[in-house]
């Protein structure tokens, strides 16, 4: 569980850094990374 939480925190910190223009810009990237790093 702690490793999953760390992975989630890292994932969303990276995504927030590239979310230029707002959250909608990173939705495809979020879906891709979610499917490969978290659930994959």
């Amino acid at each position: 569980m702690p490793s999953l939480l760390i992975a989630l925190a890292l994932l969303f910190s990276q995504l927030s850094l590239i979310a230029f223009g707002g959250g909608n810009a990173i939705l495809p990237e979020m879906e891709r990374r979610w499917s490969t790093s978290i659930t994959g």
């Binding site: 979310a19 707002g22 810009a25 495809p28 891709r32």
Partner: protein, 187 residues
């Protein structure tokens, strides 16, 4: 004109930390599908914390920075009036209610996800969310309709992300300078 300006300045108020927190808490509670238009109405028209120009300037800055626009905006407004405490109060106020609701919904979903009614409910919500996204994309793309360079860059970006499944960061690092140069050269 002078009288109008004086009146505008006279009614402008500097909110306390509590007022900032409550204001953004209310925004978070009612901001289904996007908070920005409501944020402008609250901060400029109703509570007169900012002028329209100040709001637009802050919004421009926040759109340029990474992260959610409205989160950046809440931090900027809080910082402007009450420093770091105000910034935390605004950001916390904005995310408190939606976070609580989403966590509660997540718990409900986790418990009842096998129920066909809940599955249908979430399928319907997913369809509505997809439609909202398509609608936002059309609104964002509409101003580009008379700009062939903009359309070309947007199409390239779509192909790179949606079709070729390239990473967002390198795609942005390549396309942003090309877009800026092409606009400077041909616009």
């Amino acid at each position: 004109m002078t009288i109008a300006l004086t009146e505008t300045q006279a009614v402008r108020r500097h909110p306390s930390v509590a007022e900032l927190f409550v204001g953004f808490l209310q925004l978070g509670l009612i901001g289904f599908g996007g908070v920005l238009p409501l944020a402008r109405r609250m901060t400029v028209e109703q509570r007169r914390w900012l002028t329209g120009e100040e709001f637009t300037e802050l919004l421009s800055l926040c759109q340029f920075l990474p992260g959610g626009n409205i989160i950046n905006m809440s931090v900027a407004i809080g910082l402007k009036f009450r420093g770091m405490t105000g910034a935390f109060a605004c950001a916390l106020g904005l995310i408190a209610a939606p976070s609580t609701i989403v966590i509660a919904l997540g718990v409900v979903y986790d418990r009842f996800q096998d129920d066909p009614h809940i599955r249908h409910l979430f399928a319907g919500l997913a369809a509505a969310a997809a439609a909202l996204l398509v609608s936002t994309a059309i609104k964002i793309a509409a101003p580009l309709r008379n700009e062939p360079i903009g359309i070309a860059i947007a199409s390239l970006c779509f192909v790179a992300i949606a079709v070729l499944r390239l990473l967002l960061l390198p795609t942005m690092l390549v396309l942003a300078p090309i877009s800026a140069l092409a606009t400077l050269r041909f616009a």
